[in-house]
Symmetry: C2
Subunit: 560 residues, 2 copies
């Protein structure tokens, strides 16, 4: 036994608990029930006493306004009955929405059920409803105010739902701590069913919270999270069983379905929690995010534009990993401003993985559009307009390909560009899913280097050359933006850390640069409003978790 | 005195209350303070005792995640100090955010202040926080739980904030009714400061709620609403003073700034509430919505595509009303499938108002793109792809015009099209603001007829011909969609009334049609996600008030 292992004593022996970490689909109640009953069957075959599922798994999380349809709630209730019927000789803990019988308050609860032998023995409701960042549970649910442990074969279970445990071990947003109430009934174990979306800080943060609960309430803890992605939100699974010291007894897979059985015995050998490196987590999250977007939408094929730059090269490789090389098509669309190395580098991207591609030059179409505009534009000089026309022609070609052959266009914008609006609306901002739009340019490089750690997959030249949109002769990103190393630091402080211009300047950044960048962030809110959904991997992604007005006085806002 | 008039007796005489119904701008704290101090000055000049402003007027409503920035809250606090300094010889009731001193719970309150002679005498916080449809106040604010009337010169004021009064007179969502608590302290008057967005049912609904409060608590009621639009949300003002029977003592303008003084005397002559016709309200709302989007963004000029159809003709006229004919530019972009009458009708639109336009045929550019795609498309037949290419070329031309000359593109899609995805993403779905996307096609006709009530402004032919996208020979909307009269009824039942397919079919609609339409609604969630912001005029608009997943099992969802 190493110094990191510990012995854990619990008073109940030989209770076999199964953890069913499944990948559900929102609204696919029949499919979800199928997954659930399969897991129950599997648990029965292994003589499990209790099998635990994740939060709202009957309908998939997050169901959003589907919850406002009576018929949807009826279907969830019927599903619960179906599940109950297969619970002979086993107990099941599972999550789904229920109606609030009180005509006052929100119409629903976010509930967990203990089902034994076909009977719903207990129903408990979520007490702490997250409503910040991507969470909006106050929109739908009434919080529970009466809390009780539930009894299963003489074992007192503190059955809680996700956020219910999140009021210790962090800054703690809530006035009540459900576990402080439940501890008065001396629970033997905490079971927490969750749908906790991934970001690169989340696994460590989550472990910290769970450990704080196990330690404080001196009970083992079973934590069951959902896995799988739903458009922007990626759920990482990584379910955990902790002993009463907060050490790890069982750790389920990240970004994959998993099924594990734990027997809480006198002597369980635990191990310390191991955090995985940020870039590795982001990598796996993005691959799952792409794969589930396609699979759950019944789609198989993707198309994207390959410019020879790092963003499209990285997106291409991630898509190939997610969908298979046979399902990703690359379009090269050089213009007169494309450098020779751009085409070479783009081709190399494809060749490295043995993919298929086509080269469609845009010169003729660009000239034709220019001629079309001549009666209006007359002899006005080439400017941003013509740069945008190129970007939009490429989008038009990509979408034509998408329409003709049924491929979904992947967007390749990164977070730095998305933040300052360095992209053309209806041009390179197009796509069904934005793969990289939650990672800064500097992280794009890190992730590319991670992918290349053993061999060149993403062309070295795409990594090492100076970034350029190549929409006018000799253009470089650094003509209009600060170096990404500086830009990303400023953006991170403003977006992730919610620091003001003044605070960022006080850290030593150049005032004019900071004000310019923050102003650009706000001025481009209108572009991001129409952007593709962004795979969320950071604690503050563009999308539903960051809600800013479009029409506002940003000149003032950006300077305060 | 007619039978609709009543005498109202209140015990306090000669208290002059001013209602400042102003148009604020989100984030424009300096500008808002300026408006506020001007109104205070105006009130002083007329020997007003108390001047009342609307909810969160210091920062403008809704500020969304600007509230998450410490620096933004500091700026609001400083603004309050500035305002306090000009309150000699007058009292002011005003709304702004304040910090919650308790480290638990949300960081802010949505507050109202009574300021007298430079001193904030009372601060009360909103108790009922709306969190449904477009409202998300639980995201930011902690609800008040301790309620007290405030005293002003011996008058007991029940000072409440918007939703605080919304728990009687309707179905009532909340477990507490703040007025039930406050009535125990025998208030003499209810003052409610609000930021209540417009929809075409809202003025009547709102009056019903206010009347129910005045009647039940037997006090006069002063209701001050914000006016003006912020991107999608349009605030109609229409502030009201009611007597203790709920009759109207004073009714402020809709969709305009206004300032009124009311003296609550022994004998006030009241009048009944008058509801305005729906289409008239929608008309005024849309004009204000366009105007404020431009004005508050520092923009003046709009461009839009004129197809000869009713949607673009109506959008054009509304834009001309909002911005002036000199600021609206029409582009006609005929293709080989455009009928002769389309160009005539589009020209007539422009000529009727004396506007400027240009004709830019897309044939050559379309042919050039077709040739560009030839190596990939080979001899595949003309299909939806080529229809979309035309729509996207038009968007490209419109955006090129927009970029070159600084005009903002207005989107002309209606709600029926937006609902079923009858539109091309990055094509006719482009635009900075969607003017008609919250009114169904049948309402587009009604509104056009209203505009034409005295003379032909919108070409009669645009109103009377069969709707067509003209993207292939002889195309009609009714080739792929049911007649709008049927379509809109089904959509209204599903979107506004949240009825399921089964419920709609049980009302007598054809099952296959209903299932097809509802399925289309869901399948096109991905398109609407990237659509322009929609001016909201209905109780359930596409946008922030309707939040549905993109990746979900819609086949199943649409049939339950």
């Amino acid at each position: 036994m190493t110094k990191n292992q510990s012995f854990e004593t619990v008073f109940f022996l030989n209770m076999k608990i199964a953890i069913a970490q499944n990948n559900y689909k929102v609204g696919d109640i029949l499919g979800n029930v199928n997954k659930i009953t399969n897991s129950i069957q599997k648990a029965k075959e292994q003589n499990v006493d209790l099998v635990v599922f994740s939060e709202l798994c009957i309908c998939g999380y997050p169901p959003y306004d589907l919850l406002n349809f009576d018929s949807f709630i009826n279907a969830c209730e019927n599903a619960l009955k179906t599940i109950s019927k297969v619970t002979e000789n086993i107990a099941v803990i599972i999550g789904g929405p229920t109606r609030n019988p009180d005509p006052k308050g929100k119409a629903l609860f976010n509930s967990a059920f203990l089902i034994i032998e076909g009977v719903i023995q207990n129903t408990v409701h979520k007490a702490l409803l997250p409503d910040y960042d991507v969470f909006d549970e106050c929109r739908y649910f009434e919080p529970e105010t009466t809390l009780n442990v539930i009894d299963f074969k003489g074992v007192k279970i503190a059955l809680t739902i996700c956020e219910d445990l999140w009021n210790i071990g962090n800054e703690g947003l809530y006035k009540v701590n459900p576990m402080e109430v439940l501890k008065q009934q001396s629970p033997d174990i905490i079971i927490n069913i969750a749908a906790s979306p991934f970001d690169y800080e989340q696994q460590e943060k989550r472990y910290g919270i769970l450990k704080a609960n196990a330690e404080k309430y001196k009970t083992p803890l079973v934590y069951v999270n959902q896995v799988g992605a739903h458009t922007d939100l990626i759920f990482d699974g990584a379910s955990l069983v902790l002993d009463s010291k907060g050490e790890v007894l069982k750790s389920l897979k990240s970004f994959e379905e998993d099924f594990a059985i734990v027997e809480l015995q006198k002597e369980n050998i635990s191990k310390p929690f191991e955090a995985r490196p940020k870039i590795e987590l982001i990598h796996d999250a993005l691959v799952l995010g792409i794969r589930d977007y396609f699979r759950k939408s019944g789609l198989t094929k993707a198309v994207l534009g390959l410019s020879g730059g790092i963003d499209s090269a990285l997106t291409y490789v991630l898509a190939v990993k997610a969908l298979g090389v046979e399902n990703v098509f690359g379009l090269l669309m050089p213009s007169e401003f494309s450098s020779a190395h751009s085409i070479e580098d783009a081709l190399k991207s494809v060749e490295k993985v043995g993919g298929t591609y086509e080269i469609i030059p845009i010169k003729d179409a660009f000239n034709s559009v220019s001629e079309t505009m001549l009666p209006v534009f007359k002899d006005l000089p080439f400017n941003l307009t013509e740069e945008n026309i190129q970007a939009r022609l490429r989008a038009l070609i990509l979408m034509a390909y998408s329409n003709k052959f049924g491929h979904v266009l992947l967007n390749t914008s990164n977070k730095s560009e998305a933040a300052v609006g360095y992209g053309t609306l209806y041009g390179d901002m197009c796509g069904g899913l934005a793969v990289l739009a939650d990672i800064y340019k500097t992280e794009v490089y890190e992730l590319s280097k991670f992918i290349n750690r053993n061999k060149e997959i993403i062309p070295y030249n795409s990594i090492h050359k100076a970034p350029s949109a190549e929409l006018r002769p000799g253009q470089k990103d650094s003509d209009s933006l600060p170096e990404y190393a500086i830009l990303d630091q400023i953006l991170y402080r403003h977006i992730e850390l919610a620091k003001s211009a003044k605070e960022i300047v006080s850290e030593g950044f150049d005032e004019i640069t900071v004000l310019k960048i923050i102003r650009l962030v706000y001025l481009n809110e209108y572009k991001r409003f129409q952007a593709a959904p962004v795979l969320r991997v950071s604690p503050k992604a563009f999308g539903s978790g960051r809600k800013l007005p479009i029409v506002a006085c940003y000149k003032q806002v950006s300077s305060i």
